[in-house]
Every structure is written in C-alpha cells, then in structure tokens.
C-alpha cells in the first residue's frame, strides 16, 4: 500500500544558487544517461559551442561515471509517487526549483570553463505536464536562440505533455528521452501508479515520427531545422520489480526496433526509502546491470538478436561468464571459425574478438595469411579466442569439454563497472567496447 503522502509543492524560496544546485543535481543522479554524443550541431553566428559527435567526458564522479553534462532537475517538486524515486510526493525532502535564467547562466559558465558539453534537464512533475514541459523548453530556447549556444542539450519529455510540445522540444534539443523505468505494465501500475505505459510509448512514438519526418524533409528542403539529432533514449530500472533479464532485454530490443531508440540505459535499483512495494534493501544489482549493458552492446553492434542471448532457464544472464561467452558455449557447433575466411559478422561472435579486432583481422588477411602469431599482434584476446578459431584447416587449440572450457573462460573477481565506462577524456558510447572481447 502506498505510503501516506506529504505535500509535495512546498518549494523553499530564497535559496542560494549553490544550495539549489546541490539539491537538484542530487535529485537527478539516479538517471543513468550521460552521453553527449551523436550531434554535430554548429553554433549560430556569434554564438558559442558545438556538438562533439563522439561525446566528451569532462570528469568522472565518485562512482566512476563519466561527467559530460550538467545533469539537473528543473524542480524536484513532484505530484507523482513512484515508489523507487527519491523525489516522490511522499518523500520528506527539501523542494526547490531553478529559474530559467539561473540554468542558462550555469550552463554557459560551466561550458566556457570546459567543465561540460552541455545540459541534461529533467524535472519532477510539479504542475500540469504541459506547463512543466514548457519550462524545460524555455530553458533550451533561451540557450539556443538568445545565447546562441551550440553545445549539447538533452531534454526529458514529461509524461503526459502534448505532442506539439514534444515536437517543439526536439527543435532545440540534441536528444530527447522519456524513461519507461519498469519493464511491464503490471510493475508500472504497482510502483508508479500515476504513470501510464501507453502514454510513455505514445510519447516515444510521437518523437520517433517527428524525427522521421524531419529526416524526410531534410532530403527535400535544404534548411530544414535539426530535430533531436542525437535521437531518443530511455532508461529501465533493474531489480525494483521481479522481471527477468530476458524480459528486460526483449523489451529493449523491441524499443530499438520500433521506436529507433539510440540508447537504452539500465539502472541498478537502489532503495531510497522503505516501501512495502519494493524488494527488501540489498546491495544494488550492479553485476546484473553490467550484463545487461554487455548484452545491449551485442544487440547494437555485434549482430546478435535478443532472443538468442538469454539461454538460462530462469531467464537471467549467468554471473560467471559474459553473454557472448555464454552464447559461444551453447553453440559449439558454430565453431571453430577459419580466421582467414570467416566473414566479419561471424568473427564478431568469437569470444576474445572485439569490433576493432575483427576489422583488423579482415584488413590484415588481405595482406598476409593469419595464424596464431599474427592474431596475437592484432589485439585479439587469444586466451579466449583460441578455443573458437582455426587456421589452415586446423583448430588453434583443441577445445576441452564444455564445463572445463567454461571454467577456463570464467571471469575472475573484478570490480564491476557502473553504467558508464568510457576511457578517459574521450567519449562515451564509442568506448563501451570495454565489455568485449
């Protein structure tokens, strides 16, 4: 049963900017989205800033996440009562709001000092969704039109806001997102009763349609304005509700297909306040989150299908090996692949061969025939790959039976990275190759 609500709208007036910043940044940090990539926007004449297509990390927070954007809420006052959220109406927290001018000034000051690539702006639903959405759009409009800002802007679409406003937001934002948060309608009803799955998917569809229309128009009309050039993303919470990895990854895959989403983020659930609707407080399921990111990467860049990736009877990824190794162990008949003739898509299925390694193999074998010695020089992780490859008709290593091979390929104890693990300085999405081989 939901907790008794306290008034949500007692906004503290006269708070100094630094205090607001701390409150509204802390309120936004459970959103896993961090990317600033995918846009090559140019500033208007006399303006400042531009998109960096592959994104830039400007620092790393204490949890190891890339800091690329000023990520804040416009207001943490919210009339909804989502069980998993610190800003829910029944939470006893200090409520505050930025003004448009404060946010514009902070963004420009931080941007000029090279602290950030731009702004990530979301908000609690402190009023009618259209009114909240209008405030977010106004911040983006002032930045773009009045300050000539060409840096990155990520705006949250407020559930329930009208389609006209979503289309307007896309004209100023580089990325739009709306968080689906829970993977099934039943969990949404239980944990976020004021939210509607149909409304969230409707907003995704509207933004996707607007993006397609703009793409079509821009082929015919030269000066068609950009519409959210970095596309749209969403977030799913892992572990607040009972759904398995299979349910989550099938949903993600279908969102990629149906709404052309650029990214789905997975956020390990961390209890913020006791609530009988939530699982008992435990450590956040970071390994599960990590496996979902690995699987997501396989879907987007390695040509895997969601349906083939979760093999386990309970619908969850194994903890001892990554999803690519798990697939290879379950498909021994697919291997060994001849390193001198396998096509790129096949090489990408070999544990130990990443995107870069596969491309290097294809490029180098045009010059020389490859054997184990050459492969080691191409950045292939031979201790994994050797069990799955052959050269000149002979396997590189005769593989042992499955259980022994599984032990050989198991991951040792390691620090489980958070959602973001780009290499320093550079970019974000392009460096997620960390996970494979």
């Amino acid at each position: 049963m939901p907790l008794q609500r306290k008034p949500y709208a007692c906004i503290v007036l006269g708070m100094e900017l630094g205090e607001k910043l701390e409150i509204l940044a802390a309120s936004a940090r459970c959103d896993a989205s961090f990317a600033s990539s995918g846009s090559d926007r140019r500033p208007r004449s006399g303006g400042i800033g531009a998109g960096a297509p592959s994104g830039v990390c400007h620092s790393f927070s204490g949890d190891g996440r890339c800091i690329s954007l000023l990520k804040v809420l416009y207001s943490n006052a919210c009339r909804n009562d989502c069980a998993y959220c610190a800003n829910r109406a029944s939470s006893d927290i200090v409520r505050t709001s930025f003004s448009v001018d404060e946010l514009v000034r902070l963004t420009l000051d931080f941007y000029r000092r090279n602290y950030i690539e731009g702004l990530f702006l979301s908000s609690g639903i402190f009023s009618d969704p259209d009114i909240v959405m209008e405030r977010l759009i106004e911040v983006a409009r002032v930045l773009r039109v009045e300050a000539g800002f060409g840096g990155y802007i990520h705006l949250k679409a407020i559930p329930g806001a009208g389609e006209r406003l979503l289309r307007l937001a896309g004209l100023y934002a580089d990325r739009l997102s709306i968080n689906i948060e829970l993977p099934t309608a039943a969990s949404l009803v239980r944990l976020a009763p004021e939210k509607s799955g149909a409304e969230i998917l409707g907003a995704m569809r509207a933004m996707g349609d607007a993006e397609s229309e703009h793409t079509r128009d821009s082929r015919r009309i030269r000066h068609t304005p950009n519409f959210a050039p970095a596309g749209q993303s969403t977030q799913l919470i892992v572990g607040a509700s009972p759904e398995s990895d299979r349910t989550i990854i099938l949903l993600a895959s279908s969102l990629y297909r149906r709404y052309a989403l650029r990214r789905v983020y997975y956020s390990a659930f961390m209890p913020v306040a006791p609530d009988p609707r939530l699982p008992a407080a435990a450590a956040p399921p970071l390994l599960r989150e990590h496996r979902l990111y690995q699987c997501d990467w396989l879907l987007r860049f390695y040509g895997f299908k969601a349906e083939e990736l979760v093999q386990e009877a309970d619908g969850n990824f194994p903890t001892d090996v990554d999803p690519k190794v798990a697939w290879a162990l379950a498909h021994r008949d697919f291997f060994p692949l001849d390193v001198n003739s396998a096509h790129l898509g096949e090489l990408l299925r070999v544990p130990g061969i990443g995107l870069r390694g596969a491309r290097r193999i294809v490029a180098t074998r045009r010059q020389v025939s490859l054997g184990p010695a050459e492969l080691g020089k191409l950045g292939i992780v031979m201790k994994k790959a050797r069990w799955f490859l052959s050269a000149g008709g002979r396997p590189l290593c005769a593989p042992p039976e499955e259980q022994s091979l599984r032990l050989l390929l198991a991951e040792g104890p390691r620090e489980v990275p958070g959602a973001s693990k780009p290499g320093p300085g550079r970019t974000v999405e392009s460096q997620m190759e960390f996970a494979f081989p």
Binding site: R42, A50, S59, S61, R65, N114, G423, T427
Partner: protein
C-alpha cells in the same frame, strides 16, 4: 610569433623522409599544425632543397592516414623515425593498404604511438580547464605526456566562438593563443603572460559543489575513477583538489 612547432615538425618530417633536417628554416607556424592548408613551398626558407609543403601534400595524396600517422608520431616524441621511414617507403610502393598490415612490427609500433597520442588529445579535450582573465581571455594549463598542443587548439575553436582563448603547456613551456580567428605560438618565459590569473571564481566554486554531489554514494568506486582518470591529470582539476586552476 615563434615558429618552433613547425620547425620541429619539418625537421622530423625531413628525417622520416630521409631528406636530412632543414637548416634553420624561417617559417611561419601556420600550416599543417594549425590548419588544413599545407604551407606553400615558397615559404619554406630551407636551403637543403627539402620542401615540407610538398612533402605534406605528397603524404596526403598517398593517404590522409599516412599523413596523420606522421604527424602523430612526431607528437608522440617517441622517436620511431626508422619505423616511420620504413612505413612511408612501403606505403609508397605497396599503397595505403600497407597501413593496415598489423602483422608488420613497424605498423604496429606507429599505430600504438598514434593511439596513445589520440588518447591524450581526447583526454585533454575533456580535462583542460579554462579560467576567465580580466582581459577576457580564457586560459588553460596542461601538462601532457605528448606534444599535443597543435592538435588540441582547434578542438576549442567552436566552443569559444569569438572569445579569445589560450592553452599553456607548462611541461614544454609552449603556449598557443587564439584571437580573432588566428592562432599564435609562444614559448619559453613568454608563455607566462598567458597564464590564468588568481582569485575568486563563483562558477568554479559551483562546479566543485556540483561535482561533490553528482556521484551516487551507493555505487562509489574510487578505483574505477582512478583508472578512468589517472591521478597525474588531477593537478589542474579543481574538483579533484588540484590547487593550480587559478581564477580570474
């Protein structure tokens, strides 16, 4: 305006091409290191018959990747001249696909050096911290492993628009300043005139407060952060306790 960066690059280029180093050329530093245009051969002032502008054009014609490899090898300051000479010769005779022959030791060494330089450029694209000075210039101090100043400067041109900015490489006592669309170089003690000033900076204090709150305490992972942002980069990062990021 000093010419040291271009001169050093031209000497390196001459060695890599087996032409011998140019003799104290009187050159302007504009050109390959600060923009896409190769310098015209007439501007070289080199009396050994080596034409750096022509060499750059030739390398680019063979493959833009080859030219990039040459420039990044120079930036790496790791020597590798013999490897570079071999790769240039082989690429001239076998075509640009030789650059993808990673079974070749020289190709691997140069590719690794280039990757290190690219990583360093990417790092400082994110980690260079600019402070406004009273004269309106935004200045940043860096101490990079490689000589990346000339690659770093253009990365900020759109960020700053018409606002003048400068980057000072304290390790090499080199600096570049961009004003009104032109980039100029300083070296030695002259770089000190481009350093940020000292004093209060409200935006920097707000940034520290933001940084202090944005990490999720439930997922704290200082080791991961240290791996992603090694300690040697913290010196000028106010959020990491670096004391050397002065204010206006």
């Amino acid at each position: 305006m000093k010419a040291s960066l271009s001169v050093e690059f031209e000497s390196f280029l001459a060695l890599a091409l087996g032409e011998g180093a140019p003799d104290s050329p009187q050159v302007a530093p504009q050109g390959e290191l600060f923009g896409p245009e190769p310098r015209s051969p007439g501007a070289q002032g080199c009396d050994l018959g080596f034409d750096p502008g022509g060499a750059v054009r030739e390398l680019r014609a063979i493959s833009p990747r080859l030219l990039d490899l040459v420039v990044k090898t120079w930036m790496s300051e790791e020597g590798l001249v013999d490897e570079l000479r071999l790769v240039i010769q082989e690429t001239r005779s076998r075509g640009s696909c030789f650059l993808e022959d990673y079974s070749n030791r020289a190709v691997r060494s140069l590719s690794s050096a280039r990757a290190r330089v690219d990583r360093e450029i990417d790092r400082f694209t994110g980690l260079a911290r600019f402070s406004p000075r009273r004269d309106g210039l935004y200045a940043a101090i860096i101490e990079s492993d490689h000589n990346i100043l000339s690659a770093l400067m253009p990365r900020f041109a759109l960020r700053f628009g018409a606002t003048p900015y400068a980057i000072v490489d304290m390790g090499r006592l080199l600096a570049a300043e961009r004003r009104a669309g032109r980039t100029s170089l300083r070296e030695g003690e002259e770089v000190l005139s481009l350093l940020p000033g000292g004093g209060a900076d409200e935006a920097r204090d707000l940034w520290r407060r933001y940084f202090g709150i944005i990490g999720n305490p439930g997922r704290a992972s200082p080791l991961l952060r240290r791996r992603l942002m090694p300690e040697r980069y913290w010196k000028y990062l106010s959020e990491m306790g670096g004391g050397a990021e002065p204010g206006p």
